[in-house]
């Protein structure tokens, strides 16, 4: 941090943010890479779980609205950007 002493405070904030000084000096590359991999897997699973729960929650609502009772979207009819009906 010594090199920042003669610099305007606002620039020092940017220096700290954008250089390696911001991160942990004791964290190793292997630890950081492993944690990164863990968080990628963890967050993908979280999002997948959320979508699963959402679909389960929505089912009854969609049935009440009557959109579940049509053939469309069941794979028997092409989506509109394919069929281009207008």
């Amino acid at each position: 941090m010594v090199r920042h002493r003669n610099r305007a405070p606002a620039w020092v904030v940017q220096d700290v943010l954008t250089t390696s000084e911001a991160h942990s000096p004791t964290l190793t590359a292997a630890e950081a890479t492993g944690t990164l991999a863990l968080f990628i897997v963890l967050y993908v699973l979280l999002v997948a779980a959320a979508l699963f729960v959402l679909r389960w929650l929505m089912q009854a609502e969609l049935e009440r609205m009557g959109v579940e009772s049509t053939d469309r979207g069941s794979g028997r009819e092409r989506l509109p950007w394919v069929s281009g009906d207008d």
């Binding site: 606002a10 954008t18 000096p25 890479t33 990164l36 967050y43 969609l62």
Partner: protein
């Protein structure tokens, strides 16, 4: 095989292959970037869905029509799941300040701690309490209280975004502090919290983020509605949702473009290096505005310089936008010792702006069909809305990549 390995004919993995490809700093940054990328999807969902929830709740209570009740119930569940996911994905981030960026946290803890605490205690709790009323209290509170609860959930979501952006905007245009030595380390001591909180970037960032979230959710609502309208054309609920999404897009998409233009000027004033990276403006001097820029080969993609790109440009127009003069010199990347990854910033910016204009086109198309009273009749329009469902989020994310990856480095040759 063993003999072959011993003779060197068969290369077995050695320790060098097990060495991580990333440095600790880069892995820490990517991890934070990844977690905040996922988190912001849910944060933006809360912010953008809040006005829809208020509208649907108000209409449900005042008209008693079934279509509003169905839509309120449907989108409230989406909001609830988004709220839970926003919390679950957001909590690790506060710890990551400490685990990934402890030096920065120590340096700026006085500034960052306050707004994050305000966010939790003022905004998050408000949102959580009244979301409970919305989800479970329809039969337990009066109509007026129910509508008020939806407004307070919205206020909570927007306040939450405010406090987070207080921190982020300070990280872009810091003020209201002085550097002091504490335990042998330089830290930012907060001397004027109001000035620090209400720093020059905050109003720009807050408006742009709120509006971007509303656009992203309008496209989500519109895309889902278009899908169900396509499945059942006479669905009163989903036709209503589609109309609401188109009207919201008609208002918000053009405003975002106009606001974005003014915001870019503010960035040029306060973070000229970021602005230069957004335009891949390497040499200081008059700057052209590239309306369209396409890479001609892979190297021009990774190193976007005007001479290597296919561009449709307005000569001197970036100078005009920034300074009001076609010949005004704009500081280029050559003024800095170290620059952000220009390609990521340049292409992210172009992607975001291009999508912004696409949204305006989609809104005008929808508005035209709405005026004709044939919004649900066009398979092409419904298909376009469906395809555009995730694009608001794509624009929001690439906008944040410009903000964060293009962050101004302090090492100007002239500072």
């Amino acid at each position: 095989m063993i003999a072959a390995a011993q003779s060197g004919a068969l290369a077995l993995p050695g320790p060098e292959l097990l060495t991580p490809l990333l440095t600790a700093e880069l892995a820490s940054r990517i991890q934070f970037g990844w977690t905040i990328t996922v988190h912001i999807l849910f944060a933006a969902l809360s912010i953008g869905l809040a006005p829809f929830i208020v509208y649907l709740t108000y209409k449900d209570v005042t008209t008693g029509e079934e279509r509003y009740a169905h839509l309120r119930s449907f989108w409230l569940k989406v909001f609830g799941v988004g709220f839970v996911m926003g919390t679950v994905t957001g909590i690790p981030m506060s710890f990551q300040f400490g685990t990934n960026f402890p030096v920065f946290s120590e340096f700026s803890g006085e500034m960052i701690g306050g707004p994050l605490a305000f966010e939790a205690k003022m905004a998050f709790f408000l949102e959580a309490v009244f979301l409970g009323v919305l989800l479970f209290g329809r039969e337990r509170v009066t109509d007026r209280m129910y509508v008020l609860s939806s407004v307070l959930v919205g206020v909570g979501a927007w306040l939450s975004g405010f406090w987070i952006l207080v921190v982020n905007s300070w990280m872009q245009t810091p003020q209201g502090f002085e550097l002091v030595q504490r335990n042998g380390q330089t830290i930012a001591k907060l001397t004027d919290p109001i000035a620090a909180f209400l720093n020059p970037r905050l109003p720009w960032m807050y408006f742009h983020m709120i509006n971007a979230s509303v656009i992203a959710v309008a496209l989500l609502v519109g895309g889902v509605a278009a899908y169900f309208v396509w499945r059942k054309r006479d669905s009163a609920a989903w036709n209503t949702a589609l109309k609401a999404a188109v009207v919201v897009l008609l208002v918000t998409a053009p405003i975002q473009a106009l606001h974005g233009d003014a915001y870019a000027r503010h960035v040029q004033d306060t973070q000229p290096q970021k602005f230069a990276a957004m335009e891949a403006h390497y040499d200081s001097g008059e700057a052209d505005l590239h309306l369209i820029a396409l890479p001609t080969d892979f190297s021009s993609f990774t190193d976007p310089r005007a001479e290597n790109l296919f561009t449709v440009s307005l000569p001197g127009f970036a100078s005009f936008l920034a300074e009001g003069d076609l010949d005004a010199p704009i500081q280029g990347l050559d003024a800095y010792e170290e620059n952000p990854p220009v390609a990521l910033v340049f292409w992210s910016f172009r992607f975001m702006v291009g999508l912004g204009f696409l949204f305006i086109g989609l809104a005008l198309w929808g508005g035209y069909r709405l005026k004709q009273g044939r919004l649900a009749d066009s398979g092409r329009f419904l298909g376009a809305m469906m395809l555009a469902t995730p694009l608001g989020y794509a624009a929001l994310l690439t906008g944040w990549y410009v903000t964060e990856i293009g962050r101004q480095r302090g090492s100007s040759r002239t500072s």
